[in-house]
């Protein structure tokens, strides 16, 4: 799909009244997180990288998001939302076991690392987890569908769309305080909102 907002970068508004100090502090900190600093180990990090790249691809015309780093830090800090289904352990343990299970699944199916699978095989494997059709024994204690629905999807998607590049790609106004919006009607936008360009 043609990027409708190729010329829009929400970060251009960082020093305008659309951003307050607190927002600048939070976003700056987020964008500075690095994968290596999280400390979940190289093997799991490789699995996580491949997983994130399949679930949440980078936008074509905007800077790549550091989604893997965000998620790796979340995992290490065990920063969950608190609630979890009775079938799953807490976030950190759940992810570490889940990453190992994905790796085991790749070994069981293809005899090689998940990080080394091509897109087609990786996606087929993930669709298996999504449907609860798995081969590795790791999934006995960690129900694949629950792991997928309560951890993989919400966590990756939340981290990915917390990054300004993804906001730019979708033409989202981004942070908006103290300045909000004036023009609320259909097909109207303020000068500080993204202008949409037609496909092609």
């Amino acid at each position: 799909m043609a990027d409708r907002y190729a010329h829009y970068d929400v970060l251009d508004k960082r020093d305008t009244p659309s951003w307050n100090d607190k927002t600048r502090q939070v976003i700056d900190a987020r964008m500075s997180l690095r994968e290596a600093d999280a400390g979940i180990g190289e093997a799991r990090l490789a699995t996580l990288r491949r997983l994130v790249s399949r679930i949440a691809p980078q936008p074509e015309r905007h800077a790549p998001a550091n989604t893997v780093a965000l998620l790796a830090h979340k995992i290490v800090k065990d920063e969950g939302e608190g609630f979890r289904p009775a079938t799953l352990p807490r976030l950190r343990e759940c992810w570490l076991r889940g990453l190992d299970a994905i790796e085991a699944e790749a070994q069981a199916r293809h005899g090689r690392a998940f990080a080394g699978l091509d897109a087609e095989r990786a996606d087929a494997l993930l669709r298996g987890i999504e449907a609860g059709e798995t081969q590795a024994s790791d999934w006995i204690a960690l129900p694949a569908r629950d792991f997928w629905n309560w951890r993989v999807i919400p966590d990756i998607v939340s981290m990915h769309w917390s990054h300004p590049s993804l906001w730019s790609a979708m033409g989202f106004g981004g942070p908006a305080s103290p300045r909000g919006y004036v023009r609320l009607d259909v097909n109207r936008r303020d000068p500080w909102e993204a202008e949409e360009h037609g496909d092609g």
Binding site: P17, P178, R179, Y181, V182
Partner: protein, 286 residues
């Protein structure tokens, strides 16, 4: 530069009022002055509001052009030919009437049609009327200048007509202020002022027109209304500063806050009201 170019016509108007001249000439100066202030208010207000509307219809630029021309003609202190001036006044009337029609049509086609929400937030139904008033006041001033030479139009008739225009204009402006202050739920007690003083002024003036005798209260009410218009602009400026982000967030707050250019239209009408009083007062002698 801009300050000087604005100040010059004002000085001229003041000089003309101070200078001994015929009653018609002095009245004409009031109408011209009132029309100039009104034109200024319309120009600034329509510029702001139509900028908010992103000038999505090319016709939205017309009130800016028309009000600018009116401002130049009326503020220029009569240094333009009668013909030029008439064209500008008629244009103001036409653009204003067109605007009234367009706004009415536009509100009608919104979801829910003429429901209150649309009257409060969509194209303001009465606002283009101020441009019609600008044209009328300018035209009255022109007619008065003509009458100086040949007394074509009887003073009383002009006085009553002008008084009626001003009274009607005040009533319309009150209605608009009332609607918008209702939208703001009269959150500040001062918001009641424009719906209490100007209506009295309009009534007093209407009574004067009906009786053809100015009452002693009318000039005071006109003076209060004129002052209120200026105070209103100041109040609105303060209101803008109170919104989130204050003046630093001016790109939002000038549009979302109370409209600073709107209240001076009361001032313009009140100034013209003095002209009407002058004519009514002088119907028997002078």
């Amino acid at each position: 530069m801009r300050g000087r170019s604005l100040a010059l016509p004002l000085v001229r108007i003041l000089l003309r009022i101070a200078r001994p001249a015929s009653r018609e000439a002095r009245a004409a100066t009031f109408f011209t002055g009132g029309a100039a202030v009104l034109a200024g208010s319309v120009l600034a207000d329509s510029a702001t509001e139509h900028y908010r509307g992103s000038f999505r219809n090319p016709a939205m630029v017309l009130p800016l052009l028309s009000a600018s021309a009116s401002l130049i003609i009326n503020g220029g202190g009569g240094s333009f030919s009668r013909k030029t001036a008439d064209v500008v006044h008629v244009a103001a009337g036409a653009v204003g009437l067109g605007g009234l029609g367009f706004h009415a049509w536009n509100v009608g086609r919104q979801t829910g049609g003429y429901r209150l929400g649309n009257l409060l937030y969509k194209a303001p139904l009465g606002a283009p009327g101020a441009l019609v008033l600008t044209g009328l006041l300018g035209a009255i001033a022109g007619a008065l200048r003509e009458s100086r030479a040949g007394a074509v139009v009887p003073r009383l008739v002009t006085g009553r007509a002008a008084g009626a225009v001003v009274a009607f204009g005040l009533a319309g402006t009150v209605a608009e202020a009332g609607l918008l202050h209702f939208r703001g739920a009269f959150h500040n007690p001062a918001m009641w002022l424009p719906v209490s003083i100007p209506p009295l002024t309009a009534l007093s003036l209407a009574r004067d027109v009906a009786r053809a005798i100015p009452s002693p209260a009318t000039p005071y009410l006109l003076a209060m209304t004129a002052t209120l218009g200026l105070a209103g602009a100041a109040f609105h400026a303060w209101g803008v500063s109170r919104n989130m982000g204050g003046w630093r967030n001016w790109r939002q707050n000038l549009l979302a806050g109370p409209p600073i250019p709107a209240p001076p239209s009361f001032t313009g009408l009140a100034i013209a009201g003095f002209g009407a009083l002058l004519l009514l007062k002088g119907r028997t002698h002078g």
